[in-house]
């Protein structure tokens, strides 16, 4: 039964005003069809969502399972690397890393390649005239590595007084692994030294151990052996 919206007095079917307060009766519009119970609507939406998501999951599973994408045969356009991505245009020593952004494999290799370029300069270190602190300030190796390198670069250090300074000729990277946060790398490095008869190559087999120290790569151990000259 309807009641007056102002005073609550029960109304008869055809009343246009309230018999008690004379408040006009506003007839509510009758819906042609009664609304579906709310529980049925929930079921309908749930079923639709369920089917949609099951279908989506199935499609996702299929596309991930199949090694060849649906666009098989259409090779996605891949562009050549820019020169700076693989050459020494970028200085590896300036790069900083974190746990979330570890160095890529190529970052480590490039770091060592650039380190080999500093070897001829390292060989010029003079215990008599240079300060070890100057070199220890360079953070790409530990002080122990620096001292070890200096000791094992005898052939190069002997040649630094030649008219032409030693230079790096070729570096090959032979074995590269990692264990936890430490990288191990084996290289073969050939340097050119000037002699009275002309230039002569000196080759070393080197084992490096590196890790990210604070936020940059650092060589923490080197084992250098001269193999030929």
């Amino acid at each position: 039964m309807e009641r007056c919206s102002l005073c609550g007095t029960p109304l008869r079917q055809n009343d246009t005003t309230c018999s008690h307060c004379q408040h006009p009766v506003i007839k509510k519009e009758q819906l042609a069809d009664p609304p579906a119970p709310s529980s049925s609507r929930t079921w309908l939406i749930s079923t639709f969502l369920f089917l949609l998501l099951v279908g989506g999951a199935g499609f996702l599973w299929y596309s991930l399972k199949d090694p060849v994408s649906p666009e098989a045969g259409q090779t996605p356009s891949v562009e050549a690397l820019t020169l700076s991505e693989w050459s020494d245009e970028q200085t590896a020593y300036n790069q900083t890393y974190s746990k979330d952004r570890p160095p890529t494999s190529y970052d480590v290799l490039r770091f060592v390649r650039q380190y080999t370029r500093t070897i001829p300069e390292l060989a010029t270190y003079s215990k008599e005239y240079d300060s070890i602190e100057t070199f220890s300030a360079i953070q790409f190796t530990t002080l122990n590595v620096f001292e070890s390198e200096f000791k094992h670069l005898e052939r190069l250090t002997d040649a630094v007084d030649a008219p032409v300074a030693p230079s790096v000729l070729a570096v090959t990277f032979q074995k590269f692994t990692s264990k936890g946060a430490t990288y191990r790398l084996r290289t073969q490095e050939t340097y050119q030294i000037a002699t009275a008869k002309g230039t002569m190559p000196v080759t070393y087999r080197v084992h490096y151990r590196l890790k990210v120290h604070t936020d940059h790569l650092q060589i923490i151990d080197v084992n250098r052996t001269e193999v030929s000259s």
Binding site: E79, P103, T172
Partner: protein
Amino acid sequence: MKRILFCLPLCLLMACTPEASKIQEQLEQQTYTRAVEQSKQDIDEPAARLMVQLERQLAGYQLRDVLKTAEAIERLQLATDHPVRKRAEAIALSAKETLQQVKQFEGTYEVERSTLEDEPFDGTGRIHVSFDEQDTFIATLRFDQFGLPDALRNDEEIIRFEPDFSARVNLSEGQVSYRFVRSTLRVTFEGPGGKRVYQLKQLPENE
């Protein structure tokens, strides 16, 4: 009950989606040695291992070997959008382009113009250039009656170039730099005597 019904499809979707493995994450981050370290039984282990090899060769500028390893990676039948496949393809493209340049730069160059502090002088001779098969940027330069008429050079020098095809060689006093540009080779001596530039032009193959 309603909440459970709403959550059910989401749970099902999560269960069907394979969790991105640690290996895949490392392959995407290009930390290939770490991927190898952790992928002994993983399907991506060969891909990670070959990528380490590919990057070693790229770092050593052994571009012919890079192409061989890139082909081996292609034979693994990885998905077209697999990060290893994409990286290997990009590296192979770079290597191919560079090797084409190397092929173009090989040959004999003859002095076309020579200047000393921008004033022409009587430079002469030829340089025969060939690049190493293994180490792509190591070139052998054979000097043939090259230089000043009263001090001609007839010897050979092995020079390591950078990937941009330039090189610097220290002298007892000063330095000499080499740069290939299209079909020319520019040799610049800088020392106490000033800056001496030889501009050499590549000769056609039959000469």
